[in-house]
């Protein structure tokens, strides 16, 4: 088959286009993946399609920590070996993964789903801060660890939450500032994150 003919075939160029929209996948890789699927047995495509659709159909937010989950409560909240007196506040569900990889933290999480960003019009009400405060009132949490990204919005959000929590008499800590300023938690390496967790400080 002539590859030029194939690239212009509509179903393939559509697949290439879609793959190309994914993070980390450039046009070359998208092309390679598309051709790989074309030559693979049909089950391969079906399984992939099912998996892709499955993440939208079967996932919801954990009613306790607001992490993305297929069970409610999520695996972390349901795990009885976790320390229920500590809660680590993160911006996005994806931020839980690198923290879990460090194996240094055995408490629970709370996902804000964003950060305060005044010039983008993102206000505290747009985040899951209210849920956090309600959780603190309801449960026996004694320490809140703020793990927002080490950039201006992340720090503003942490300072704001700290201000709301401090009257409750709960210990508030934040990740140490060993993390590179202006970066993004998602991309931090495990060593840096381990140190940051160990070196968390009083706010």
């Amino acid at each position: 088959m002539n590859p030029d003919f194939l690239t212009t075939a509509r179903p393939i160029s559509r697949l290439i286009q879609e793959l190309n929209k994914l993070p980390g996948i450039g046009p070359k890789t998208a092309q390679r993946l598309a051709y790989h699927l074309l030559q693979a047995p049909p089950e391969r495509s079906r399984d992939l399609a099912d998996a892709v659709l499955g993440i939208k159909e079967n996932l919801k937010l954990c009613t306790i920590c607001l992490n993305i989950t297929d069970t409610d409560p999520c695996g972390l909240c349901a795990d009885e070996t976790r320390d229920v007196t500590k809660v680590c506040v993160v911006e996005e569900p994806i931020d839980i993964l690198p923290l879990e990889r460090t194996r240094k933290f055995r408490g629970l999480y709370h996902v804000l789903h964003g950060v305060i960003s005044p010039s983008d019009g993102i206000k505290p009400e747009d985040l899951r801060i209210r849920e956090l405060l309600e959780r603190l009132n309801r449960t026996g949490i004694t320490e809140v660890i703020l793990a927002t990204n080490p950039n201006v919005e992340g720090e503003a959000t942490s300072m704001y939450i700290q201000r709301l929590i401090s009257p409750l008499g709960i210990r508030v800590t934040r990740l140490a500032r060993g993390l590179p300023f202006g970066g993004d938690l998602e991309y931090a390496d495990d060593v840096t994150l381990s140190r940051a967790l160990e070196g968390r400080q009083e706010m």
């Binding site: 993070p23 010039s119 983008d120 201006v152 704001y160 009257p167 202006g182 970066g183």
Partner: protein, 263 residues
């Protein structure tokens, strides 16, 4: 195609995620005015750009002209204004200042005076540790510089000399109105003698001189709402960061009902 490389100092006034780890920056530069540029890989830890292209950082930048957007090839922070980052109030002032600069300026129009004003304001903010007065002074200087200076000497309607009494202020008329003209004007509000004096004084003062004025809480509030109305009239919209600053000034309660059931 050869890309031209240029150097300038600049302040990062806006930045957005761009692709996976890149940032789309809006810079206010000393030599080229407002410029938009990509900082590649800036969000990866260990990136040499990282903290040097963080919001409200004053950096020395090396840029390459691209087809659509310029690319930041090197950045070295000159001043990160640490006290601003350590305070929620000052950082909020910083958010507001950058939104103000971004909204009032066009891309690629060189404006050194604006750059200096902005930079000096950030320095003042970091040093003074208190924002309101500095924001008001900046607003006034900015309007003055961009040709929106409010008329403060004579009545903006009948040109009569203003008496030392409560007068009126009308954003639509572009300044202060005498009692005769202001009273029947529905779009006008009162302005106290002291507020008028402060604004006049600031218009002819540099930062150091302007900072000698100590404002009472009432006067601070009056000048703030006056300037806010004026800017809102010019821009025909309210800046987004204002709502946040009000939330903070209000004690930072979520929708106002948090205090009662939380404390």
């Amino acid at each position: 195609m050869t890309s031209r490389v240029y150097q300038t100092a600049g302040i990062i006034i806006k930045r957005h995620k761009f692709g996976e780890a890149d940032r789309l920056l809006t810079l206010f530069t000393a030599d080229f005015g407002k410029v938009r540029a990509i900082a590649k890989g800036a969000m990866r830890p260990g990136s040499k750009l990282g903290g040097n292209v963080e919001l409200l950082t004053h950096s020395q930048l090396m840029l390459a002209r691209g087809r659509n957007l310029d690319i930041v090839t090197q950045a070295q922070a000159i001043d990160i204004f640490l006290p601003i980052r350590d305070s929620l109030e000052l950082m909020s002032c910083g958010f507001y200042l950058s939104e103000l600069v971004d909204t009032f300026t066009e891309e690629n129009v060189e404006d050194r005076e604006m750059f200096d004003l902005f930079l000096n304001t950030l320095r003042e903010l970091a040093e003074a540790g208190e924002g309101e007065r500095i924001l008001r002074y900046f607003e006034l200087r900015l309007l003055n510089h961009l040709g929106y200076r409010p008329q403060l000497g004579k009545c903006a309607n009948c040109s009569r000399l203003l008496l030392p009494e409560v007068n009126y202020f009308s954003p639509a008329q572009g300044g202060v109105l005498c009692r005769e003209c202001g009273y029947p004007d529905m779009g006008a509000r009162t302005i106290s003698v002291n507020a008028l004096k402060v604004l006049r004084f600031w218009l002819r003062s540099d930062f150091a001189t302007a900072s000698r004025v100590k404002l009472s809480i009432e006067l601070t509030t009056e000048i703030k709402s006056l300037m806010r109305e004026h800017i809102r009239y010019i821009l025909e919209k309210q800046l987004k960061s204002i709502e946040w600053m009000d939330t903070l000034a209000d004690g930072g309660h979520l929708n106002g009902d948090m205090a009662a059931d939380q404390l």
